[in-house]
């Protein structure tokens, strides 16, 4: 039990970063609050299946089973030593206070240090027809399998790029689902710089090659260098197929009733934004990310960011970043045991993260964000799924109203104004706007987050003081 004067530390997220951050805080003698939206700990990557499901770790997490098991076991051991609040949404943030809600009950949590380990969601580029029922994010396809033992359809096409594309496809094949094709927008030959980055973690790179071999052996059609044309079907009945240009420029069509779509991940940066953290444009992955020092300090004193919610380093990187940020926070707070741990461990942790970051760059170069795709996106393609804003409407908005900034285009066109707050259209909208006004994408800005972080039920009560 910590002393009354112990610093108040709040961790948001119980995935790899959040769990390791909480663990470091407990080691230093604190009892942190851990807020998590999930019903169970583990985050998305090590999401635990519901009670009553029986598949073992090896089946669920494959090569990552030992890490998943270790994370779950370690958090189970922490349960009595942290103030763990599951199914709790951090809906707003003001200086020094986190605003949460659980089942309609709000609470204000004052903090001396806040560790935001908010994870990531899929990064999406719109494809004409992607609003149709049966098109899911790659992460969704994986969650359906991992958490519910379901495939998203009876015949699935995976389209996009990034390691998750092959991983999910292989997991589907192993689980007995029918995979019609894996269509990768990345070129067959990655640039040399990508290889250099990927070699930072040779075992992981090799694992990727194994997945591709597995899929090939299973007879799955694999195509690289494709350009998406359309997710075929009808608005009424949903997905019926996918058509792409292949690397030779020929149209190929694959019948299916479900599509898993995604290009890597995007950081969940809403809380960092509400914390008024500075952001910087990261050119390799072409996205805005909170400015961080190498320990995870944001530009806002007392606010630390770790895991995929800050930098997409994957689960291993998240574990290291979570621990490092927590120790840095304690050190900054003048907490003696925490400072001692920080002094003895930060150099190793930083080195680990540097390796992960080289690998991240390699991945971003080998499986690039399909920036060339946006210019060719037909006018009728939906960009913002929530508000049904099309590429044509966005382009007209630029032409007719002169919007040369994404928040301005949002105000005029409603792009990013819907329930998801621009999570799934923000990056694409910026690319389309930039192309339409012939500016570099970093010059049209980024969609600013607005509270609530996720929809807030209107029956939420007042905070009782």
């Amino acid at each position: 039990m910590s002393a009354p004067s112990a610093p108040r530390v709040v961790v948001v997220g119980a995935g790899p970063a959040g769990v390791r951050a909480a663990q470091a805080l407990v080691e230093a003698g604190l009892r942190p609050v851990v807020i998590d939206e999930g019903r169970r700990d583990g985050g998305q990557i090590y999401r635990r299946q519901p009670e009553g499901f029986t598949r073992g770790y090896a089946k669920l997490y494959g090569s990552e089973a030992p890490k998943a098991e270790a994370l779950h076991r370690d958090f189970d051991a922490l349960r009595g030593k942290v103030d763990y609040r599951s199914e709790t949404l951090a809906w707003n943030l003001t200086p020094g206070e986190l605003h949460t809600v659980r089942a309609g009950e709000p609470q204000v949590l004052p903090f001396d240090a806040l560790l935001v380990c908010s994870g990531a969601t899929d990064r999406l580029a719109p494809v004409n027809g992607w609003h149709r029922a049966g098109c899911y994010s790659l992460g969704a396809a994986q969650i359906a399998l991992k958490a519910q033992a379901c495939a998203i359809g009876s015949k699935v096409v995976f389209l996009g790029s990034g390691p998750l594309l092959y991983l999910v496809a292989a997991q589907y094949v192993q689980a007995g689902a029918q995979v019609a094709a894996v269509l990768d927008t990345a070129p067959a030959r990655p640039p040399l710089a990508a290889l250099a980055g990927l070699l930072a973690r040779p075992r992981l790179a090799l694992r990727g090659l194994q997945l591709i071999r597995q899929l090939r052996r299973a007879g799955v059609a694999l195509r690289k260098g494709v350009r998406p044309l359309e997710i075929l079907g009808s608005d009424e009945h949903g997905v019926a197929g996918v058509s792409v240009f292949d690397a030779h420029g020929d149209v190929q069509r694959f019948d299916c009733d479900a599509v898993g779509l995604g290009w890597h991940l995007r950081a969940e940066t809403q809380l960092a934004d509400l914390a008024r953290c500075e952001f910087a444009f990261e050119p390799t992955s072409r996205q805005w990310l909170p400015r961080l020092d190498e320990d995870g300090r944001s530009s806002t004193p007392g606010v630390y960011l770790a895991g995929d919610g800050a930098r997409i380093l994957g689960a291993d990187g998240a574990e290291a970043a979570g621990r490092l940020a927590a120790l840095a926070a304690l050190s900054d707070l003048g907490h003696a045991p925490g400072r001692a741990l920080y002094q003895s461990q930060h150099a190793d942790l930083r080195r680990t993260l540097a390796t992960m970051d080289r690998f991240r760059r390699g991945l971003a170069l080998a499986f690039p964000w399909p920036q060339a795709q946006f210019a060719g996106l037909p006018d009728q393609a939906v960009v913002c799924r929530c508000e049904a804003v099309t590429a044509g409407e966005l382009r007209r908005c630029v032409d007719q109203t002169g919007s040369r900034e994404v928040n301005r285009a949002k105000a005029f066109s409603r792009v990013g104004m819907g329930r998801c707050q621009g999570r799934y259209c923000g990056h694409a909208a910026a690319e389309i706007i930039a192309h339409a006004c012939r500016l570099p994408v970093e010059d049209v800005g980024r969609l600013r987050a607005q509270a609530p972080v996720k929809p807030l039920p209107m029956d939420t009560r007042e905070v009782l003081s």
């Binding site: 009670e51 609003h131 029922a133 969650i143 359906a144 379901c150 608005d235 799924r385 329930r419």
Partner: protein
């Protein structure tokens, strides 16, 4: 493996030995397995979860991790449920379209509905 309805969108690949639960979807009886999310329950019986408000058709969820907000449905009493993050409970009664009596039908509402109809 229990036979899914021929119109099911999702395909169960394992964990099918769980106890069954009864629920009601759009007024019709349906069956789910203990531990199913509401989204899985809906898509084991049909191909859609809700309709887009803006005329671009049926939706069946998208992210399954509580981020896209594209799977909100209704209880029969008007309460909202996010299907991907709600665990099915026995006796649950859900609607994939807003309850018909969401607002009381009044002269002013009738006037507005006819105006909307006249414009489209």
């Amino acid at each position: 493996m229990p036979a899914d309805s021929p119109t099911a969108r999702f395909v169960r690949l394992a964990e099918t030995g769980r106890p069954k639960l009864a629920l009601r979807i759009d007024g019709r009886p349906a069956e789910a397995l203990e531990g199913d999310t509401l989204l899985v329950a809906l898509l084991s019986h049909g191909r859609r979860v809700r309709d887009s408000e803006f005329g671009d058709g049926a939706r069946a969820g998208f992210c399954l991790m509580g981020a896209c907000q594209d799977c909100w449905v209704w209880r029969e009493n008007g309460e909202r449920l996010r299907a991907c993050s709600t665990v099915v409970e026995a006796g649950m009664a859900v609607l994939t379209r807003p309850p018909a009596d969401y607002w009381p039908m009044t002269p002013d509402l009738a006037a507005h509905l006819s105006r909307a109809g006249g414009e489209s």
